[in-house]
């Protein structure tokens, strides 16, 4: 018969109090003490002091006076079965969960000790991965800042251009080394043979220099060379634009995606484009072969920001 919570506790000289809690031995999984509430005080009574257990009452071997000599129940030295998981405890001891108490192990009672090991553990947990952080960052960002591709590409011959001040599309095959793959993409540029008037409006600041990552000049577009090449990507969001006849504006560069409109000098006439068309380094060989460096700029920015 196991004492129940709220059972009346009877000493040899009459009813003394009631069972408030039970304390279990976590290793043996049986009751070790009862906590008896007498006149508002809770006292720890070992099970050896129990003489008989009934349905709703417990008889003790001691007198009420002797009962008052048992130690007061120190709640802080115990954990309820809600706060610690002792496997199968509540099968052996039939009370409501949370009513069984188990003593905190002696070693765990020292708060400084607990705090030190907890702190050390947390510290090691944070530091354990530390040596990997830098190598991992470099590992995953390796291709993100690949160096610029400053190769010259033959796009076609100037004989293809029949008229002045019109956009002529040149498509060429660009071979790209993509980690371990080699791909061939079709890239498009627009070349204009400009008259001096138009040319002055294109090269508003004179000769145009192109730089590499370290600030060295890699090419200069002379402002008197009538051939200019524009990158085939619209500076708004990178779509491929076309040379078209507009209803009211005449012949313009028109981007079908968001209807940015540029004139032959690349200036924005209408639409959401943040800047003019991007000029590319261009050179014309003696036999009339046009070569460009296929520079790519970030789309959507006011200032040119080279990315490839």
């Amino acid at each position: 018969m196991q004492p129940q919570i709220k059972s009346k506790v009877r000493c040899t000289d009459g009813v003394a109090g009631e069972v408030a809690h039970v304390i279990a031995d976590p290793i043996a999984l049986d009751l070790s003490h009862l906590v008896v509430r007498v006149n508002g005080t809770e006292r720890q009574v070992p099970m050896t002091a129990v003489s008989k257990t009934r349905e709703d009452s417990v008889d003790l071997l001691c007198t009420s006076a002797q009962l008052a000599e048992f130690p007061v129940f120190a709640r802080e030295d115990f954990l309820s079965s809600k706060e610690v998981e002792i496997p199968h405890l509540e099968e052996k001891i039939r009370v409501e969960p949370g009513q069984v108490f188990v003593p905190i192990p002696d070693l765990e009672k020292s708060v400084p000790r607990r705090r030190f090991f907890a702190g050390f553990t947390n510290l090691l947990a944070v530091l354990i991965g530390l040596p990997l952080i830098w190598p991992v960052l470099r590992f995953i960002t390796k291709p993100m800042y690949a160096p610029f591709d400053n190769r010259w590409w033959k796009v076609g011959n100037i004989s293809k251009i029949k008229q002045d001040n019109v956009g002529v599309q040149f498509i060429f095959k660009k071979s790209i080394k993509d980690s371990v793959l080699t791909r061939e993409d079709d890239k498009s540029n627009w070349v204009v043979k400009a008259t001096p008037e138009i040319l002055k409006n294109i090269y508003t600041h004179g000769d145009l220099s192109f730089f590499d990552k370290n600030g060295n000049v890699i090419w200069v577009n002379k402002a008197t060379v009538p051939y200019v090449a524009y990158s085939g990507k619209c500076p708004h969001l990178g779509c491929g634009y076309k040379w078209r006849s507009h209803k009211t504006r005449g012949q313009v560069f028109l981007c079908p995606c968001h209807l940015s409109i540029y004139d032959v000098t690349g200036k924005v006439l209408d639409g959401p484009a943040p800047r003019a068309l991007d000029l590319l380094p261009i050179k014309v060989s003696a036999s009339g072969e046009i070569e460009v460096i296929d520079i790519e700029y970030k789309a959507g920015t006011r200032q040119q920001d080279r990315i490839a």
Partner: protein, 361 residues
């Protein structure tokens, strides 16, 4: 800063009972106190997490197709910053996992912690062991060099010898009658998706069964000794776990630095001068198959499939055969001797396989 952290903690605690949850997880009393012998399970979990992390990083650059697997692995090794270190860590981590799995199984066996009421923990643990071996086998193919390709080819051919289901199993793994792109695709998806999901599920189950039964604790000691040394899972055992994890992390890094991964030539259909060999933790089985008494179709299937399967079945049946509640290993001579024989046998066969290399030409 602390006050803010406390506020966040109280906010969550009010809603999900975080304090009680934490207490229940952390305040698991360990009979007889925390022990270094108990760290291997947590160390396995740590190694798995590291393998998952390094594995995911490798997937940033690895291309699982037969024409680019080798090149992309070489790319990682030779071009990506610290790629050699990440790949070598992943490689040696898998060996570490096998070593620690053997250590963990040995510790559980020697402590008699497979006996009642912990039979289910043991069974799920055996399944986890199988998963770890499968991880090693499937991952080995991915670099697609001679070593990878031929170790896998030989391994799958051996599995073909399984009675009844062998042919189906081999064709399923190869994705056809002969190894090729389908093999690589299947091994890749099994290695990075199927096995990790299975491992996480079974590990969760393993932990749940373990916590339900409670830790077995030491196999000897008076009640007074046990009580005096009992402490909680957190912080002492966790502290020991973490120091063991840090030590294993350093050990794997050291191996990665001493012996970084180097690929052989790209896989070709003709092995040429290369002698196929599985990973070191399969070498003992590999050597057994060379014995004359296991020659012939029946003998090979006996040594490769039947005997290992019988051994695993024996291990699975162990908690049901061995009903003696005695857990002190020094009072279980059969257990102690059989453990020693198996371990020494594996070591001797592994060394024999290495010595055998000189006789292959």
């Amino acid at each position: 800063m602390n006050a803010l952290a406390q506020k966040v903690y109280d906010f969550v605690d009010e809603r999900i009972g975080l304090k009680t949850l934490e207490a229940k997880m952390m305040n698991e009393p360990i009979k007889g106190g925390s022990r270094w012998a108990y760290v291997f399970g947590s160390v396995l979990l740590f190694i798995f997490i590291m393998q998952a992390v390094t594995g995911v990083l490798l997937m940033f650059y690895y291309i699982p197709s037969a024409d680019h697997a080798y090149a992309s692995t070489q790319y990682i090794l030779n071009e990506v910053d610290y790629g050699w270190f990440i790949l070598s860590y992943h490689f040696w981590g898998s060996s570490a996992m096998v070593v620690v799995v053997f250590a963990h199984m040995s510790q559980v066996f020697l402590w008699g912690a497979y006996k009642k009421p912990r039979e289910m923990v043991w069974l799920v643990g055996l399944a986890l062991f199988g998963l770890v071996m499968a991880f090693g086998f499937t991952g080995y193919l991915l670099p697609w060099d001679q070593r990878a390709y031929w170790a896998t080819t030989v391994g799958v051919e051996i599995m073909d010898k399984t009675p009844i289901v062998g042919d189906f199993l081999a064709r399923f793994l190869k994705g056809g009658p002969t190894p090729g792109q389908m093999t690589l695709s299947r091994f890749f998806v099994i290695h990075v998706m199927v096995l990790p999901a299975a491992l996480m599920g079974l590990a969760g189950l393993h932990l749940f069964f373990f916590r339900s039964a409670g830790p077995a604790g030491p196999f000897r000691g008076t009640t007074e000794e046990l009580k005096a040394k009992t402490d909680f899972f957190f912080p002492r055992q966790v502290w020991k776990d973490i120091i063991a994890m840090a030590t294993v992390f350093l050990a794997i890094s050291a191996l990665a630095l001493v012996e970084p991964v180097e690929l052989l030539q790209e896989a070709t259909p003709d092995p040429g001068d290369y002698h196929p060999e599985p990973e070191w933790y399969f070498l003992f089985l590999f050597q057994l198959l060379r014995w004359r008494i296991f020659s012939g179709e029946f003998g090979q299937s006996l040594a490769a499939i039947v005997l290992p399967a019988l051994f695993m079945l024996l291990l699975a049946a162990l908690p049901f055969i061995d009903r003696n509640p005695e857990r002190n290993i020094f009072k279980r001579p059969i257990a102690l001797v059989s453990w020693a024989v198996v371990m020494i046998g594996i070591v001797v066969l592994t060394i024999s396989a290495i010595l055998n290399r000189e006789y292959l030409d």
